[in-house]
């Protein structure tokens, strides 16, 4: 669908990638006006930047051990966050840890979303037997405690990033499936869906073009919420020792490593803990802001 509308459409309005710039106004307004949203966005950006540019930004090699300064307290010399019991710089470890946390959460939730939304979309759209069958399948998935799955995977395949991703994705499929199905159930009754059928669009096309875009808002929020939860989940697994490989510096692993040292070297656990809280909060707020900005209809309108 050519965004240039064949030359028609109001060409004098400024555009970005074919989309009118004033569409972005809403996004900008939401973010600018709402301090919560700004906070959320800032946190997310910092987090992502740290994760991507960890190799460049980290002052030290996260694996480099310096016995001389083991358990150095934070803000001591060159280590703003201190070091752990192996003399490794905590700040650097956290930056690298951000990569893994971010990567794991994003990938896991994306997989869960794709599978879950797909199931929910098909189930909600077709209804009847298809709906019943698919939803029972989803119920089965939901009934499996994810921690158990994680343990099983570790027992079979050993520790590692992909096991964590699989376990977490598995846990979130039903969330997305149910949410998507609920949205679809109400959207498919809307007249524009019937209108699309009237035009001759196939069911698949209708699901993707007409129904899905309208179902997206709560799914986006759910996505961000679950990314935050996935980070916590990964932290839990690593904390318990059934997550990533032992030396990998994820935030949860860092938390776990500092557990016994809370008295002497509190920063090893507390700082990653604070980071987790702040990041999770930021992601949630960002998700809310995204949902508001996506609401095409908005609350404008004369009384």
């Amino acid at each position: 669908m050519g965004a240039d509308y064949g030359g028609y459409g109001s060409d004098d309005t400024p555009r970005l990638f074919g989309v009118r710039l004033d569409r972005f106004d809403r996004l900008r307004e939401t973010l600018a006006g709402d301090y919560k949203a700004t906070f959320g966005l800032t946190t997310v950006i910092l987090f992502v930047l740290a994760a991507i540019f960890a190799p460049e930004l980290a002052p030290f090699d996260p694996m480099a051990q310096e016995y001389a300064i083991m358990q150095a307290p934070s803000l001591s010399s060159a280590h703003p966050f201190g070091t752990d019991s192996f003399g490794r710089d905590l700040l650097s470890r956290m930056m690298y840890g951000a990569r893994i946390s971010l990567g794991v959460s994003l990938v896991a939730v994306t997989i869960g979303a794709v599978v879950g939304i797909g199931l929910g979309l098909v189930a909600g759209y077709f209804g009847g037997v298809v709906d019943d069958a698919l939803m029972r399948f989803v119920d089965v998935l939901w009934a499996f405690p994810w921690l158990l799955i994680a343990i099983m995977l570790v027992a079979v395949f050993g520790q590692g990033v992909w096991n964590v991703i699989a376990a977490i994705a598995f846990a979130y499929i039903d969330d997305f499936a149910r949410l998507a199905r609920g949205e679809v159930l109400s959207i498919r009754e809307e007249e524009f869906v019937l209108a699309a059928k009237n035009i001759g669009l196939s069911d698949t096309r209708i699901m993707i073009e007409e129904v899905l875009p309208n179902a997206v808002a709560p799914l986006i929020v759910q996505f961000t919420v679950l990314v935050a939860r996935a980070m916590l989940a990964e932290s839990t697994l690593s904390f318990l020792g059934i997550g990533v490989k032992p030396t990998t510096p994820t935030w949860g692993a860092l938390l776990g490593q500092g557990r016994s040292l809370i008295g002497q070297a509190w920063w090893i656990s507390i700082i990653p803990g604070i980071a987790i809280v702040v990041t999770v909060l930021g992601i949630n707020l960002f998700g809310d802001a995204l949902r508001d900005a996506f609401d095409v209809r908005g609350e404008e309108g004369s009384p």
Binding site: M1, G6, V129, P213, R297
Partner: protein
């Protein structure tokens, strides 16, 4: 409108060759199961909502047929069934010679170019996440009619035709006014150059002055693009403005039909008469006219009254034959193509004029007696 199934021409216009029959529906029924649950239905709850329960209808090329009825009459369901948005539970739909009642989605594709539907509420009939230009252009893409610049040119031309500016191509539905949205709906229906357009209450959601504009537009487009129309409305005045022939629906059936003038000047069915009486009139002398409404409510669609479905509310209730035997559509003397389904047609006009209907309690007695038969 011929209701015979052998396609012979009937009384209408013996001198001129009849325009071809574009759409012919015979004994159309559309029932919806009341209970969607599989298990309940297996256990015996097979009640159905008889939205449309045996309708014959023909639309000729170039004409406008109106379907009039109130809530619960089944007129919207009929419109959707005829344009194959729903599949009929029973009956046949012949469009330009082809039976389409059992066509699958794929087989219907080429038909969808030719039968289009305009929805009542333009706001809910447009995808809020697509610009109106995209919505109108979509049919062209789906049917491979045009692409690229050619496609947009067609859309822009059509926009102008209906009074919208081409600058509105990239507007979202909620940014337009109600009248503009309805015009968009019209564009979407016309962009594939269909043969038949079904309108479902096209102006009900609009202000009076806008209604007039849109009705004028609809009329003009018909002449310009050589279209046939099926117009569904509860508003008799609207129907009168646009339609050549009218069918009056009640409780899923057609109770009267004929040329517009005949229906308005010589209504035969008591329901039609009530409907006409109920229309608020701006009398020439501005006095308050006495309007008679109808007592009671529309009948249950799952369990319609026996015999003539209108008998519980009929202000001209006769006797036991009303609940006892369903009247079929009969020709009205003197008017070509005018039919009504009422037992009064078997009796004399004089008798009808002087008849006093029984009171509700008396009717109860009559009804239970006829049920015993």
């Amino acid at each position: 409108m011929s209701s015979t199934t052998d396609n012979t021409t009937t009384d209408d216009d013996a001198t001129d060759p009849r325009p071809r029959e574009l759409l012919q529906a015979t004994n159309i029924k559309k029932h919806f199961p009341l209970n969607e649950g599989l298990i309940d239905r297996l256990l015996g709850d097979d009640r159905v909502v008889r939205a449309v329960d045996g309708v014959d209808l023909t639309v000729h090329a170039g004409e406008t047929v109106g379907i009039v009825g109130e809530s619960g009459s089944g007129k919207s369901t009929l419109g959707r069934t005829l344009s194959r948005l729903y599949e009929p539970t029973d009956g046949s739909v012949v469009f330009d010679g082809q039976h389409i009642e059992t066509h699958s989605g794929r087989e219907l594709r080429p038909i969808r170019r030719r039968i289009q539907y305009v929805f009542q509420d333009p706001m809910s009939a447009l995808n809020p996440r697509k610009t109106v230009g995209q919505s109108v252009a979509r049919p062209l893409e789906v049917h491979d009619i045009a692409s690229g610049d050619e496609k947009w040119k067609r859309v822009a031309d059509l926009f102008e035709e209906v009074g919208l500016g081409p600058s509105q191509l990239d507007a979202y539905p909620h940014e337009l006014s109600g009248g503009q949205r309805q015009r968009v709906g019209l564009c979407r229906a016309l962009v594939t150059e269909p043969d038949l357009v079904v309108f479902d209450e096209p102006v009900s959601a609009l202000d009076v002055t806008l209604q007039a504009q849109i009705l004028n537009l609809i009329n003009r487009l018909q002449r310009e693009f050589d279209l046939s129309y099926l117009l569904i409305s509860h508003n008799l005045n609207v129907v009168r403005q646009v339609c050549d022939r009218i069918a009056v629906m009640y409780a899923g059936e057609i109770v009267e039909r004929g040329a517009t003038a005949d229906i308005f000047e010589n209504p035969q069915h008591p329901y039609t008469r009530s409907l006409l009486d109920a229309i608020p009139q701006i009398d020439g002398d501005g006095t308050r006219a006495d309007r008679k409404g109808l007592d009671g409510e529309p009948p249950s669609a799952t369990n319609p009254p026996s015999g003539c479905r209108f008998h519980p509310r009929c202000p001209e209730f006769i006797d036991g034959s009303c609940p006892g035997q369903k009247p079929s559509l009969q020709d009205v003397e003197g008017d070509a193509g005018h039919e009504a389904a009422c037992h009064w047609l078997d009796r004399s006009e004089a008798e009808r004029a002087t008849h006093t209907p029984p009171s509700p309690t008396e009717r109860e007695v009559i009804r239970s007696e006829s049920a015993d038969d």
